[in-house]
Symmetry: C2
DNA sequence: CGATAACTTGACGGCGGTCAAGCGGCGTGG
DNA sequence: CCACGCCGCTTGACCGCCGTCAAGTTATCG
């Protein structure tokens, strides 16, 4: 029986060239591959718990996950959303303050934090990628603070739909006509949209209905959104 | 006349061992010193404008600065606060989406972004420090999202006062009795407190008055706060 | 086809925003 | 030293957005 050449799963990984792994050459990525393992997470399944010892870090290969914090009395706020090629977890010696739960079925590439920390310190190029990613995430998070602190429900919904349109079309890869597609499937339930925007489920529902009745969007099914009048959304986004 | 030994200003800098510079040895910091310059910023003076080309990055030596974003119609949200030893600005090729304005008279150590970027890539230890700092800032920002999205005005104010108490006592350096001091001077006006918490100035004022009348805090002057009943604040922080 | 969860819709009320007036501390100038 | 004016803050009255509570409707799955 002929054995295939030794080759890590990384080399055929769909996010090989987009995740922080892109900083590594073949030899390095094989070394990293030894430390990690692939793992499937089904929709709704948690990957990391709030106030966990944060033993895990991971790259998202496929699917969408939410990062949340909660108050003791059960109020929840989604503080981040991780898409394919995103990095999740908290390296370098701190406990996470966010839970990570899969929104869709997902595949991730997980590492023990201690292993990852050690490997990263020995590979500055990897750390540089991680730094760029973290800086970008901080930018995004800060613009979301503006939304949470100062925008009305209508503005929040409009901004959210525009962002989803951008984000989800990014993940399509190559489109014949570039730019956000007018139609997409939300990875969020109504309650989760509310948790992203700091609203209640009823307010989210009412705003969706309003936009539909104004002819700005169409709602083919519960999870699908089609943007009919993008300019109107931009106008309402504040 | 006897000349003093050549020595960069960095070596006597008060944040030498706390800022990201602590990653560098004497020779390296002298090289970095060649690239930067010290600058005084008076209270209210801007250092970086929103949507700027982000030509500057800086370390805070002394004072407090705010990072803000605004909507076109003038609503403002403070998305971050920089204290001594904090790093400000956006390295690695992106425009900032936040303005930076001094809240108190401040001294910073500024670099052209391009110079800093180049230097950082050649000094992985510096990048590592910057990464740790950015990760910590992201954690803080995310917990602030919880506050903005899900907490009531009373909870916001209580959380804010506790955070200020922690932050400002940190900067005292060595205290005989460790732990947050019960009294401090706010670097914020009422309007700025409102901009941090996503409230209006009137609501902030009313909440302060309420806490005072409940005997939880004392307000010796407009900018000073004394925490009388810390447990009550913790209880109200949600 | 029924059960269950997710969502929508309606009625109502309260938190916090808006508008407006009053207060007070501080700096300036007489 | 005191009078004045300004600016930041406080307080009050009112109201609207959005949260709460409840009922009705639609998808989904056994």
């Amino acid at each position: 029986m002929v054995t295939a050449p030794i080759m890590s799963a990384c080399e055929t990984c769909v996010v090989r060239n987009r995740a922080i792994c892109s900083a590594l050459d073949t030899q390095e990525i094989n070394a990293l591959n030894q430390l990690g393992r692939r793992r499937a997470v089904t929709a709704g399944e948690p990957l990391i718990w709030e106030d966990d010892d944060s033993l895990l870090v991971a790259n998202v290969i496929e699917g969408v996950l939410k990062l949340t914090t909660s108050t003791e009395d059960g109020r929840e706020q989604i503080v981040g959303v991780a898409y394919p090629s995103d990095f999740i977890g908290r390296p370098f010696g701190h406990t996470t303050k966010a839970s990570v739960v899969a929104l869709t079925d997902a595949r991730v590439c997980v590492f023990a934090r201690s292993d990852f920390d050690r490997f990263a310190k020995e590979h500055p190029e990897l750390e540089h990628k991680l730094l760029e990613r973290t800086l970008a995430e901080l930018d995004r998070t800060r613009s979301w603070m503006m939304l949470l602190g100062r925008k009305t429900a209508a503005e929040k919904i409009a901004t959210f739909l525009l962002e989803m349109s951008d984000r989800l079309s990014d993940n399509v890869g190559c489109q014949v006509f570039p730019g956000p597609r007018p139609r997409f499937t939300l990875p969020f339930s109504r309650q989760q949209v509310a948790d992203v925007l700091g609203l209640t489920i009823e307010t989210v529902s009412r705003q969706f209905t309003r936009l539909k009745s104004e002819g700005v969007i169409e709602l083919p099914s519960r999870r699908e959104v089609e943007i009919i009048d993008r300019a109107a959304l931009v106008g309402q986004a504040g």
